[in-house]
Every structure is written in C-alpha cells, then in structure tokens.
Amino acid sequence: MFSKFDNSLSRRDWLKLSSLGALSLPVSGWLNVLAARAAGPSQPKAKHKSCILLFMEGGPSHIDTFDPKPGNSSSEIKPISTAVPGMQISEHFPKLAMKMKDMALLRGMSTGEGSHGRARYYMHTGYRGGVGGVIHPSMGAVASNFLGRETDELPNFVSIGDRSYGAGYAGPLHAPVEVARAAAGIENLHVPDTMPAFDKRTRLLDQMEKAFVDRMQIPSLEAHRATYQRASALMHSPKSKAFDISNEPDALREAYGRNAFGEGCLLARRLVEQGVTFVEVQLGKWDTHTNNAKRVQALSEQVDPAMSTLLTDLKQRGMLDSTLVIWMGEFGRTPKVGKQGGRDHYPKAWTSVMAGGGLKLGQAVGRTDKEGGTVEEGKVTAVDFMATVCKALGIDYTKELHTPAGRPMRVVDKGEKPVAELF
C-alpha cells in the first residue's frame, strides 16, 4: 500500500520531514520557519562523532607513503622515524611523523578489487558494485542516516572535490551536498539581488505552495516544502559562513596549504565544527603508472601539511576525540616499479590510516612482507574496514536497511571483523 513511500523518500524520512513541523504550521511563513530558528540561538553541539574522510583517488602506493620498505629495491623514498618509536613512514611526511601518536596505520589492507571504479565503490560502501542491482549508500550517507540531524540547517554530508559517492538506496535526504572547490564554497548560496527581495518573493511562493499542497495532500510535496525550508534556512543561517574559509587567519591557511586539498581540509574542519556529520575531501591523481617517485612526492607534499594541520587544529579545538579522520585510497600499488617508471594497481596489500575518533592510536596494526607484496599479519578486508569505521562512529553496522525493492540489507555485509586493536 505504501510502496511509494519505500522508494527514494522512505516513509521514515517522510515522518522525519513532517516532524519539522511543516505540516502543522499556519498558512504563512513555512519557508522561513527554519530560517527564523537558524537566526536564533544556536542549537547544542552534536553529541555523536563526526568523520572526515580524506580520499586519495587513484590509489596511493603504500610503499611510498605509510609502509616504507627499505628492503624493496624499487623503493624510491627514504623512511623516517616518527613520534612513535619503531614506526617509520615516508620522508615526505615530516609533519605527519610528528603526529604519529594521534594516528593508527592499518598496514594489512587486502581488498581484492583492482579496477578504479569498482574499488572506489567497494571502499566507500563495503559492498561490491553492480551485483544484485542495488546502489549501496556510501560511508557518508550511512553516517548521515544514523547520526545526522534532520532539523539542522547545515547538511549532514558534504563532499568536497570532483566527484561524490552518493546515498544509493538510502535516498536523497542522505545525498551529499557537493562543493567543487572549497575556496568557492557552496554554489548558489547567495541570491542574485538582495535577501529582503528574496524573502519577499518566497512569501509569495509560500502562499502559492500552500494552496497546491492542501489540494493534493501528497507526502512528496511535503518533501519539496521541507527541502526549500532547509535551503532557505541555510541561506539565512549564520552557520552558512562555515562554507566560507576566507575568514580564517592567513597563518592557518598557509599551514593547511593554499591548494584545493589544503583548503578542502580547512573547510572540513569548519563544517564539522558546526555539526556536519561527515565530510569527504578528495585528492586525485594518485594513479601513478608513470613517473611514480616524483608524483608521489608532489602529492605527499600536499597531504603532509594539510592532514597534520587538520589533526593539530582539531586537537586544539577539543574536537579530535570526537572526529574520526580517515586517509585512504581505493587500493595500493605494486611492489615493483614497471618499465614506465610507475606502479600499477594493487589491492592485495596496502595501507590506510585512521586518526582521532577516540581510538587507540600511535600504533601500526598489521604487517606486510619485506617487499610490501603480501599481508603477513592483521589482514583487513573492505568489509572489515567498513565495520571498523561504523564501530568508531558508534553506528550499529549489523542493522538492516531496506532497499527500494524491500530487500533487507545489512549496513555492513556479513563476515565483518572490525579491527580489534583500535578499540
């Protein structure tokens, strides 16, 4: 009977939407209710954890970043010591080396998907794509689904970079707000004329909308109304300034790095500070089939200041324990450098990093062999990884969600073993 509600906008979502109060409001001003709320005293800070995912698109070489192998003759970097005795990382990460007590390395990643698209999907969702005809929600959408607040004027999931990994069957409420360039902020947040003019025409829209909604009495229309409310509230909200990094002190901007990734990390901190649940920041071009050494160095020199400053910044603001920071690609790269001076895709053994989030840090979990080619200890599959992220954020990953076709689907697939050493 309610099959319609089970689709992209679930019945549950609809109930949440109506709990915004849109349904019970008097004739005028529904569009500005949230705006009024936004302009008022700010809501209490989120009690749940937040997550910043630094996604290294293309697949960074583990050997040339966080799992150096001096014994591997193809290795083109020198390892350096870190704040944790016995743990070494790439020489291009001097600042991160000093932050090692706030980080944990998962050196036993072994995920089995070697094609970019499918591997990205797999690492973002914990499910293999294109099988079973279902589009799975990405990590950010899962976090938004379980931890997000519907009544906040800020979105729950923001994706900064070229592409985003969407909500899949979790529905449009949990889809990311996309920011192509951090420095430019969110698109179309500002009116072409003035806010009073905008308010004037939205009042007219209010009146028109009311008549049609009353006549039709369809939940979808309430969703339209609620989304306009949220957009309008965001436009009015002082919190929308979170999207504007230009007010940050010059010294801090320099520390993060004046490039797209550094600015993305800074924006991520600003958003999490205002209660956004999940922010993904992308850094591309890690697909180093050619000219591996130089390219990895250049990319590392962006990661090192941005990520280390992010950890420092979060810590100074007392947010590090409640914010999980993840650094990962879709796979690692081959232990051997090929003829073209590059490394190829390698999902069999690689490294991801977790920081903050109240985890047990300052350790390396798992170990690869001398060449960095096989996992000898502490193997972590894509499913294990997804379960670890969920556990760190306090999400019950054994819960089932329902696909539009009504098929029950666990948040994380069965057979999961979250990395015990972190908890």
Binding site: S3, G117, L189, M208
Partner: protein, 654 residues
C-alpha cells in the same frame, strides 16, 4: 423510477450500471432500501433482494458485492458506500457514447485521418495499427474500475483540459506545452480534441526524442569501466528515429541484442559496449549484459542470482548463467582505454573461440578453463559450466550454429514469450502512472505485487497482437478515462496509492525540467537545439543539458525511467532559486508586457506559460496585490514568475 431500474436490470446491462441507477440520487438510495427491506429490520437479506430483482443469479452477485462483511445481510451503510463507489467508477464510462465497454477491442472502422498531424503520423508510421485504441482504452477503464468498485474507492473526476494537455505533453514529449499550444487547445471546442492531441503529439518528433532519452539512459550506463567506449552518443538519435517511425519494439530489441559493427554505423552496439567491465580489457562481460538484458527486456532481475540462487524466488544461479551463455562469445575491438585515447570507434562482433584476458592485476587469477561452444564458465567456480538455456529451462539446439545471440533474440521477441510483452507493457504503464502494474517494474517475479493481473495480460496480448506497436499502446493508455483522471484526491480516495482512483504525481525528470524551463523561459538556444536541422534535437550529449542532467538527475532514475518521489536536495533547490541562468524570467516577462498592458492579462499569461492554466480569481487578486508593492512592475512580474517556477505545481507532472 422503480420501473425504470427494474427494466434496466432485466435488459441485462452490466452489474455496475444497476448499482449506478439504483444509486442515482443519494436520497433515493434510502427510499429504495426501505422498499427492498420488506420486513423492516434495517437490513436487506438475499431473499429480499431476489424478490425485488426477480432474478436469483443477479441478485446473488449484487448481494455479494454489497455485503462487505459477509454476514448475510446488507445494511444501509454498506449499501450507500457500495453504491457511491460504483457510481463514481461508472460516471465516466457513462459519459461516452459507447455504453457497453468492450473488453476485447475490435478493429477500428476505417476512419480517414483528419488532421495533417495524423496524416504525417501515418506516413512515417511503419506499423500504423488497424486495431482500435478506443476499445482497448475502454477495457483498461473496465478493469481499473472493477477493482475500485471492489475496494469501494471512488475515482476522482475527469482532469480539466489544462491538466490534460500539460500531463500529455510531459508524458509524450518530455516538456510542458508552450503557451500558444495551451491556449489553442483550451479554445478548441471539438468533442474529440483529446484524442486528436494524443495523435498530434505522437506524430511530433519530440515524441521519439523523449522516449529515446529514457531508453538511452537505461541502456548506456557509464561507469569507470565502460565510459570510454560510450563517449559518443549515437544510440539516442537511432532510438529516436525508431520510435518516431514507430518500428515494432521487437525489431528494435532484436537489433540491440544482435548488434555487430562499429558504434558509429551500428549504434545499437552501445548496449554491448555498456557491458564492458574493465577499461583495460575492453570486452563486453556476459554477466553484465545478462543483468541488463533481463532487467530491460524481460522485467526480471536475473543478477540477483548471479552468485547464488535467489532467496525469495524460483530463480537459480543456472538461470543467470544459462542466459549469459548466449552472450559469452560477444567481443569488442577498440573498446579499451588505450583505444579510446587513440580516438578509435569501438566495434562489436560475435565469434566462437575468441578468448579474452579476464584477469586483473592484483586479483586472484581466474583459473576457469574455457567453456565449450554454447556454454559459459562461471568465473571463479572451477569446472562449472552452464549451457545456453532459455529462462524457464528449455535448451536450444546450437549444433551447426555459429552465433548464439540471434537464437536468444528470436526466442525473446516471439509472440509466445512469457516475458517480453509483459515487461514492455509494464514499463510503459509506469511511464504514465509512476508505478508498474507489477511493482517494481524490473522485478516482475511471481511474488511481486500485481495490482491488476488481468489488465497486464490484456495489455500484453494487445501489444503482441499489434505487432509490438508502441504508439498504439500509448493511444490505448492515453485515451482511457483512467489516464485522463484528475490528480486531485477526494476525501475517500486520498489514501489510495495503487488502484488508480486518481492520477499519481510524478516529479519531472532532469530532462523534463530542463526542457520545461527552456519552454517557459523562452530560451532560444534550447529551441534551436530541439529543432536542430535534420537530427534528433535532443541528442547532444555535451553542453548545458548534460551538466544540468548530472546535477538534477536522481540515481534511481535510469533503471525505472520514472521518478515518482521528490528527488531534489538542498543544492538543487539552491540552484532553482538562485542561479540566474535557470530562472532568468526577463525574456518572458518583457514579451508579455509588450503584448499585454492589463495586469490581469499579464498575470494570466504568466500562469499559462508556467502552469499551463488560467489563474483563479483569488490568485489574480493575490498576484495584483503583490505587483502593487513594487514600483518596478517588470521586476514584480519577474518575481511572480520566479515563484511560479519554484512551486511544486510546476515541478511535478500531475
């Protein structure tokens, strides 16, 4: 009065008519009830009803219908509710000259084409059906109304002409009608004008272009693996031509499933290029092709049993691989990442004994030995091969054959195939009503809810009998009263989602929104693009349309081709509200202010432009009040149009 209905009864008209006449006026119901209630106990028993109707069999049927709780007697309330439901359902049928709705349509009596539009449709129409869509429309109404009566849900009244033209234009051409089209239709006083409009839109090139957009995106689903083989969209114009020439659906699907040659000269190969599952290898994957073919053309999600037997249905893993075996020797040249960089046009061919590297670096090697001709090896399940088998278990004789796809295509498109027509009909139905008769539309398993099984079978038979004539099927649906119902609910049918008591609301797809905004805002570029010389205008893949589509597109959109629910998030809404390029109202407002001087007329013009209807007196008052607050009239009218464009009434197809 009583004599009249008794006579009607004996004349043997259908049951619903009896109830209708019985219930012709609400007050009369009670009066007649009291007459029937011989013993005056407030209930009618079967015996009392039989005495009244003097026909035991009919009395029994009638009684069963009204006695909802099955306690052997009909109370006043039961009678009233039942009669109301029947009355509403029947009201529409009675308006037609054809009093006796035929369940089986008959061939149309030769009726010469009246307008140029129809003539031109017939000229290009490859299979202008001789079957009668009006009779089939009546059959649709009959089946739908039967279920409504059973459920005692009254139908909403007939849609107004404004509602109708807007809905039909969106459904058949993918955009709102222009203001002049709307005004001409509203002025037309012909009693046959809705039927004519359906024919006119079917003859419009935009019809084929619109359905080509839908099917292109269902077939070509770019991902990281196949995107380089799909960089050029040659399929969409090919599909548009097929739809506009009204080729049989069987022919189009056969071309797709057996396609060979390079993409430029054989655009149907796009289906196989979309099945490429590794950019480096550039080979169509039989598993990916099987999932797509079964979903698109059979209404079955075979991929659910790719790895294991389906937990909820009869489908087995071997059903999936039995179909995949037909596709296992389809290969491609020039579909790799490397070839794409060298600007090669990919080429699809079918040949036995051609092997491809299927192992990816860093992955466990697939040690599966190659399967013999006519079989496919299940990857990573050593030694497990499956013969080419039709879904349902029959194995074709492949001896002496060199290609397998034609065997599958022949089987699939045969008039006796249990999947083909039903899947097509169900998908097309969903296009108009936002949901399939079986829902979900691509998962037509025995246990999927089927709200109107007889109707689905009837339409599938009609489609097959018309030689898979899509325009005919659309005429059948759009001429029905069910399609022409208002979307506005009544208190009694408010909660009905599945019985078609009213037209469901569907949010515009990204493409519909793009073309409708262009129509309302008078974007010349879009107009030129649509009317592009000698080509299907909507084919351009790059440019603003693609960007817009990417931004507004709902992920679930492509497979279903329907988006019933609201699919926009905050970024989309921010763009609709604040992006100058998509709500620049100046052209439309300036034009209107030039031709009209009276505020009432300008306001009416804006309503007709955006919502395809006239404003109500209250809306005119409201708008005038708003205009008066602004010294700059053009600015105020611009704001009014902005508000209209942001209403859900604009955003939804209703």
């Amino acid at each position: 009065m009583r004599d009249f209905w008794k006579k009607t009864l004996f004349a043997g008209l259908c049951l619903a008519s009896v109830a209708l006449v019985w219930a012709a006026d609400e007050g009369g119901v009670i009066q007649r009830f009291e007459k029937a209630d011989k013993n005056g106990d407030g209930k009618i028993t079967l015996a009392e009803l039989t005495a009244l109707t003097e026909n035991a069999k009919r009395a029994q049927k009638l009684f069963d219908r009204f006695d909802k709780d099955g306690n052997g007697s009909v109370t006043k309330a039961e009678l009233k509710a039942g009669a109301q439901a029947m009355m509403a359902a029947k009201a529409e049928t009675m308006k037609k000259p054809d009093k006796n709705p035929a369940v089986k349509p008959e061939p149309e009596k030769s009726e010469p084409s009246k307008t140029d539009a129809i003539k031109s449709a017939a000229a290009t129409d490859q299979r202008h059906s001789t079957r009668n869509p009006i009779a089939a429309a009546a059959a649709i109404d009959h089946e739908i109304n039967l279920e409504l009566t059973k459920a005692m849900v009254p139908a909403s009244p007939v849609a107004s002409d404004s509602e109708f033209i807007r809905r039909l234009s969106l459904d058949l051409r993918g955009r709102i009608p222009s203001v002049s089209e709307t005004q001409a239709f509203l002025k037309d006083t012909g009693s046959d004008k809705r039927r004519k409009l359906i024919d006119e839109y079917l003859a419009d090139e935009e019809y084929g272009e619109h359905f080509a957009i839908i099917w292109y995106h269902r077939i070509a689903k770019p991902d990281d693996d196949n995107m380089r083989a799909l960089v050029k969209n040659e399929l969409q114009p090919w599909l548009a031509d097929g739809f506009n020439q009204n080729r049989g659906w069987d022919g189009i699907v056969k071309d797709i499933l057996t396609a060979t040659g390079d993409r430029e000269h054989s655009p149907a190969t796009t289906f196989w290029l979309s099945a490429v599952n590794d950019a480096k290898l550039g080979q169509p994957d039989p598993a990916k092709a099987t999932a797509a073919a079964s979903r698109l053309f059979m209404g079955v999600r075979l991929e659910c049993c790719q790895c294991h037997n389906h937990p909820f249905t009869e489908l087995k893993q071997t059903d999936f691989w039995g179909t995949a075996a037909f596709f296992a020797q389809t290969h491609a040249k020039g579909a790799t990442q490397k070839a794409a960089k060298a600007n090669a046009t990919p080429d699809v061919f079918e040949q036995a004994g051609v092997g491809g590297k299927r192992k990816k670096k860093g992955e466990t090697a697939d040690k599966t030995p190659p399967a013999p001709f006519g079989s496919v090896a299940i990857p990573f399940e050593e030694g497990k091969t499956v013969h080419a088998t039709f879904l349902g278990g029959k194995e074709p004789d492949v001896k002496g054959q060199s290609t397998l796809r034609p065997i599958f295509a022949e089987w699939l498109t045969a008039s006796t195939n249990p999947y083909f027509a039903r899947a097509a009909v169900n998908k097309l139905w969903a296009n108009f009503f936002g949901r399939g008769i079986v829902d979900p539309i691509d998962d037509m398993q025995a246990d999927s809810p089927n709200t109107h099984p007889r109707l689905l079978s009837f339409l599938a038979d009609e489609f097959a009998a018309s030689k898979y004539d899509q325009k005919h099927l659309i005429r059948c649906i759009c001429n029905s009263h069910v399609y022409q119902r208002s979307s506005q609910p009544t208190p009694e049918n408010k909660s009905d989602d599945v019985l078609y008591s009213k037209m469901p609301l569907k949010i515009m797809t990204a493409d519909m929104l793009y073309d409708s905004l262009a129509t309302a805002l008078g974007h010349q570029v879009a107009e030129a693009e649509r009317r592009g010389k000698g080509m299907a205008g909507k084919k351009q893949q790059g440019g603003p349309r693609q960007e817009f589509r990417k931004f507004f597109h709902a992920e679930s959109d492509d497979d279903a081709g329907i988006v019933a629910d609201y699919s926009h998030g905050v970024p989309q809404v921010l763009r609709l509200m604040n992006a100058k390029q998509i709500n620049d109202t100046s052209t439309t407002v300036a034009n209107l202010m030039q031709t009209e001087t009276k505020p009432d007329k300008i306001i009416a013009g804006l309503y007709a432009t955006v919502l395809s209807r006239e404003p109500t007196p209250a809306e005119i008052t409201q708008a005038k009040k708003f205009i008066a607050t602004d010294k700059d009239a053009a600015n105020a009218y611009g704001d009014l149009m902005w508000a209209l464009l942001n209403t859900s009434e604009f955003l939804f197809n209703h």
